[in-house]
């Protein structure tokens, strides 16, 4: 047991930086532009809150194109009233991402010469990067499209459409300035035939100017649906490659998993080389790449499952009751705070990552499941269907750094044995890392200043050398 009991922990929330290198073209809807400028959104993120049939969805994207060319099309089960639509805050996503993101923790080996284990000074850690035009009625009728409702909410102009057939809807969208990728009608048709409506949003430039913001805030909507599902197929219409989607699901009773695809926990809680402290985003990106490829892009990965009332270690505070309410958690009573009354966790760079223990008197009824899916049209032919299990076991994508004791090998008889065990441990860490990321083991050993273990021939030790006959 080389690790000190108290652990210094470093959290690096990386979602944004990792996924930025995987341009995703849409999440639940598709983003379309009027001009030929290439449009894309990166790091699609969705918060989905569900209890019974009540569902609240929040959608965030890193759309960086011209705001007036932004558009979003999402199938919804019913015509939404104004009160069912809201514009949320981006910092909510930043917070939930930071709270649930993959994390590094570090431990320091104690002095093997000391009899009693003494707590070591804890290293400082970097702070986590917490991470239209009005439609014309006559044309609509001819196209079989009905504008069921129209609202301006925050910086968005929103229309709820119903349609009789997909070609008409495609034409309507095109005529109203949404440049629909070819194949859109085909993708829209199944939703029309299931009698679904379409939530269509564009940016209202005047309203947007009033907000003074340089980014687009997340759109939220609340509705009732028997289906616990997320439509991802529309987003594949203009996909040019695999897309990434992070889904934060908040439920009352247990972990959420997909019923029509495999849900796999990422390999986690492994010892990895300490040099990854400075390369954690690259490490996690490679790890996810490798695991997704191993599953042939056919699995949904669980990155985090935790009761929202606590965390250990905490990459960020759990969401406050107010934040949970903003995210759509409607079942908390006024006094049922998700966090205990202790003061909020200080922003890190400082030092030890804190832990937040469960609230006395029972855990809060909000379980957060963070799922990460990389999907392609051929590997995910169906929309994601979910179920809430009764599984309440916590899980986090956590990777461990163990710092060796920096003493003299000759300090005491135990020290030599200790350093030999460190060498074995580091070799194992190198191999773990190579397996997780598909990085070359030689490169890893080079960065760790490790020598490759001497190759042992089969005949080594067969005869003792130097014996005279």
């Amino acid at each position: 047991m080389f690790a000190s009991i108290r652990a210094a922990a470093v959290a690096v929330a990386i979602a944004a930086s990792v996924f930025a290198s995987h341009p995703a073209h849409a999440f639940c809807g598709f983003y379309v532009g009027r001009a030929d400028a290439s449009l894309f959104n990166e790091a699609s993120q969705v918060i989905m809150v569900r209890d019974g049939t009540h569902t609240v969805i929040s959608m965030q994207n890193d759309y960086k194109g011209d705001a007036k060319e932004f558009a979003l099309v999402v199938p919804v089960p019913q015509v939404l009233q104004r009160g069912q639509i809201n514009v949320g805050e981006r910092k909510l996503f930043e917070h939930i991402d930071a709270y649930s993101g993959p994390r590094l923790v570090e431990y320091f080996d104690p002095d093997p010469c000391a009899r009693a284990e003494r707590d070591r000074m804890l290293e400082s850690a970097p702070r986590p990067a917490t991470a239209g035009a009005a439609p014309a009625p006559r044309r609509e009728k001819a196209l079989g499209v009905t504008v069921e409702a129209q609202y301006t909410v925050g910086e968005y102009d929103i229309a709820i459409l119903s349609a009789r057939e997909s070609d008409g809807l495609e034409t309507w969208l095109t005529q109203n300035g949404y440049r629909i990728p070819s194949g859109a009608a085909k993708a829209l048709a199944p939703y029309i035939r299931q009698n679904m409506k379409f939530f269509v949003a564009k940016v209202n430039l005047v309203e947007r100017a009033k907000t003074g913001l340089t980014w687009l805030r997340p759109l939220q909507f609340a509705f009732d649906s028997e289906k616990f599902m997320l439509p991802i197929r529309l987003g594949m219409v203009n996909a040019q490659g695999p897309q990434d989607l992070v889904i934060y699901l908040m439920t009352r009773n247990g972990r959420v998993e997909t019923t029509n695809y495999r849900t796999v926990k990422l390999p986690a809680n492994m010892d990895v080389p300490v040099y990854l402290k400075d390369e954690f985003p690259a490490f996690y990106k490679s790890l996810f790449d490798t695991q997704a490829k191993r599953e042939n892009l056919r699995a949904v990965f669980t990155e985090y499952v935790w009761n929202m009332s606590w965390c250990d270690p905490c990459a960020a505070d759990p969401l406050s009751p107010e934040e949970l309410r903003q995210a759509g958690v409607f079942w908390l009573d006024g006094d049922a705070g998700a966090t205990p009354s202790s003061p909020p966790i200080a922003p890190l760079p400082t030092s030890v990552m804190p832990r937040r223990m469960p609230t006395p008197g029972g855990a809060q009824p909000v379980i957060l499941t963070r799922l990460h899916v990389r999907y392609a049209p051929d590997t995910f032919p169906e929309d994601l269907m979910f179920q809430q299990t009764k599984d309440r076991e916590n899980f986090q994508a956590r990777y461990v750094l163990r710092h060796a004791w920096k003493g003299n090998p000759d300090a005491c008889p135990q020290a030599r044995g200790y350093f030999e065990s460190v060498a074995r441990r580091q070799e194992k860490e190198a191999q773990t890392l190579a397996s997780l990321t598909n990085w070359r083991i030689e490169d890893i050993r080079g960065k760790m200043s490790l020598k490759a273990p001497a190759k042992r021939e089969w005949w080594d030790g067969l005869w003792k050398q130097g014996l005279a006959w």
Partner: protein, 290 residues
């Protein structure tokens, strides 16, 4: 002469046991693959307790009722089925479900035939009544090769059990209904292929609904029963949008089996019945054999 007759008897007995032995071997392989390569959230203690409780229940009931045969193979199949399907966050769910499901085999009987498929009942008790239990229908994944293996091996098992017809008829009805839905909604056919490659579906078709002891005796009644189960499952999954449709559909349709047997009577099945010489009726009613 005596030894030759004995040898023939043993051969007949082995032939009779083959179906369940094949099924057990296949379930064990599947469980091994699941635990090692498929990230099943199943703990070995849960499995061990399920088997211990299931076998103990079977022995207690057979001894208590003074039956000649303990029926270990059937109990093993039920325990394997529960280990493959049921997931729980505690250690007591699996043994309790196994004990209740196997007890029902001796208690809930109609006309000398046990009513519920034990593994199906155990799963329904777990997800319907017990806290902290669930089924992960997506756990198998959709690898086509995997599915083909399931079909091939499942085919062998059900063929040896000689009531293989219900598996294929059920699959035909179910996949037909899914195809109809895909066509009506204008969905891509990849969805149909996705369903076809569902490990949970094939496992259900070949190892659950095919249990010859809990389905109608007559082929035409079995076909009707397969259609019924497929229809209920379709309604459950695509109208109610609830998970675990196949499990619930079989459970809900089960009470109709005695009615179908009454209206459309047929020859009762027995595991150890040699093809040429049906066993006496008394043996057929032995619950330990089912």
């Amino acid at each position: 002469m005596v030894s030759a007759a004995r040898a023939v008897g043993w051969a007949a007995r082995l032939r009779g046991l083959d179906a369940r032995l094949y099924q057990i071997a296949f379930q064990a392989t599947l469980l091994g693959i699941g635990v090692v390569a498929r990230d099943f959230t199943l703990r070995w203690e849960q499995m061990a307790l399920a088997f211990a409780a299931g076998l103990a229940t079977q022995v207690l009931w057979t001894r208590g009722l003074g039956l000649r045969r303990v029926g270990v193979l059937s109990a093993l199949i039920t325990c394997f089925g529960l280990s493959l399907l049921l997931r729980a966050d505690s250690l007591w769910v699996h043994p309790l479900a196994a004990a209740l499901a196997l007890s029902a085999k001796f208690i809930v009987r109609v006309d000398g035939k046990h009513l519920f498929n034990p593994a199906n009942l155990g799963v329904i008790i777990g997800i319907g009544l017990l806290p902290g239990a669930w089924v992960s229908p997506g756990q198998w994944g959709n690898d086509l090769a995997y599915a083909v293996w399931l079909v091939a091996l499942g085919g062998i098992v059900t063929q040896r059990a000689r009531r293989w017809d219900i598996s294929w008829i059920f699959l035909a009805f179910w996949l037909g209904l899914v195809a109809l839905r895909v066509a009506c909604l204008g969905q891509p056919w990849a969805i149909w292929w996705h369903q076809l490659g569902s490990g949970a579906l094939l496992l259900f078709a070949f190892f659950m609904i095919s249990d010859p002891m809990t389905i109608p005796n007559r082929p035409s009644a079995r076909a009707l029963y397969a259609l019924l189960v497929a229809s209920i499952a379709f309604w459950w999954q695509f109208v109610l949008f609830q998970p675990n449709a196949l499990m619930w559909a079989l459970f809900l349709a089960t009470p109709l089996v005695p009615l179908l047997d009454y209206w459309l009577p047929g020859q009762r099945f027995a595991w150890q019945q040699p093809a040429s010489s049906p066993l006496p009726d008394k043996r057929l009613g032995d619950p330990a054999v089912g």
